[in-house]
Amino acid sequence: MGVDWDDARKYLRRLGDHAGEWAGIPCPVEGQPLTVHPRYPFAKVFKSPVEDAEGARMVNEWYDRRRGHHVLIWREANGELCWGRISNQKADKEIKTLGASIAWDIDAEITAMEKLRKVVEPHKFRQYFTTGSFLETSKRSGVTYLFRRLRPTVAMRGDLVSNSVRILAALCLHPIGFYNDSWAGAMVPTDDVIAHLLLMRGDEHGFWKQANQHPAWRPEAGI
């Protein structure tokens, strides 16, 4: 009898409990490398062999907004300087997110939804349940945050004079880790949202400090 994904998740849960890893161990998915926090106890296990390989070294990279692709410049092991382009394939990211979703336990997502329901007002939970997002304004800074399922949190500030809204940044943060080139975190989607929400409420500066801050026009912002 073969091992299925449920068995794999249960095994990793037991392994995490045994190892005393409170947040658990992410479920690896073939073809979907994971990036975990470098000080995560099992970081070495998830390190891609490509990262370890000596040789090519990234020199610079930027996003060409006009052409809609990333430009990379790197130096090969023999010293040769090379460059290349990576097109922004939104569909590719969506499909990789679908692929990574096999790592998530449906019961874990339901548990996370129940927790979110306890920490937000009913109308916000209704918005999240039906649309996958909700808004909350920080009493501390006055910044309004759009928390989104499987997308970075958008930080905005309203301008009463011009009656407009300015997007400050899209904040991307995944506790423990995320699946490369996808929107998927190691945790179920609603746990990522809970993490963003509670960090914003309890340690707003820390939230910004830990998160990758993407300008609204970058594909990574998911806007």
């Binding site: 849960r13 947040a23 975190g185 990758n212």
Partner: protein, 119 residues
């Protein structure tokens, strides 16, 4: 009243540990868990009586109390770009050392969030 520690977990969604301070074994276990989490860099978000949340900066194992700051003691150390976070009305600054407000673990609900890998 029992203390509650909820841990965001990749496998289970939410692991909940409850402990009664009147039970010495439970209290000792809870203190060790909290201390271990903080040493591993977990963010412990404490829900206060008024419904707001604050982050525990430290934990006093002897007294079983989370130590939270009245204001952000890392503001001076935080030199990362905040892209307009401070554009709005000025936040009232307070002078002096952080007052280190304490919250007993036996009455608090805390949520533990693992270190972030960015994204």
């Amino acid at each position: 009243m029992a203390g509650v520690l909820e841990i965001l977990n990749v496998g289970a969604g939410d692991v909940v540990i409850t402990f009664d301070n009147k039970n010495p074994m439970e209290a000792i276990r809870a203190k060790r868990i909290i201390k271990d989490m903080l040493s591993r860099g977990y963010a412990l978000m404490i829900k206060l009586e008024d419904g707001t949340y604050t982050r525990a900066k430290a934990f006093d194992e002897a007294t079983g109390e989370y130590i939270i700051a009245d204001f952000d003691p890392d503001a001076d150390e935080d030199d990362s770009p905040r892209a307009g976070l401070d554009d709005g009305p000025p936040i009232k600054a307070r002078r002096g050392r952080p007052r280190g407000k304490r919250v007993g673990m036996e009455n608090a609900t805390a949520t533990a969030i693992g270190r972030s890998a960015g994204g």
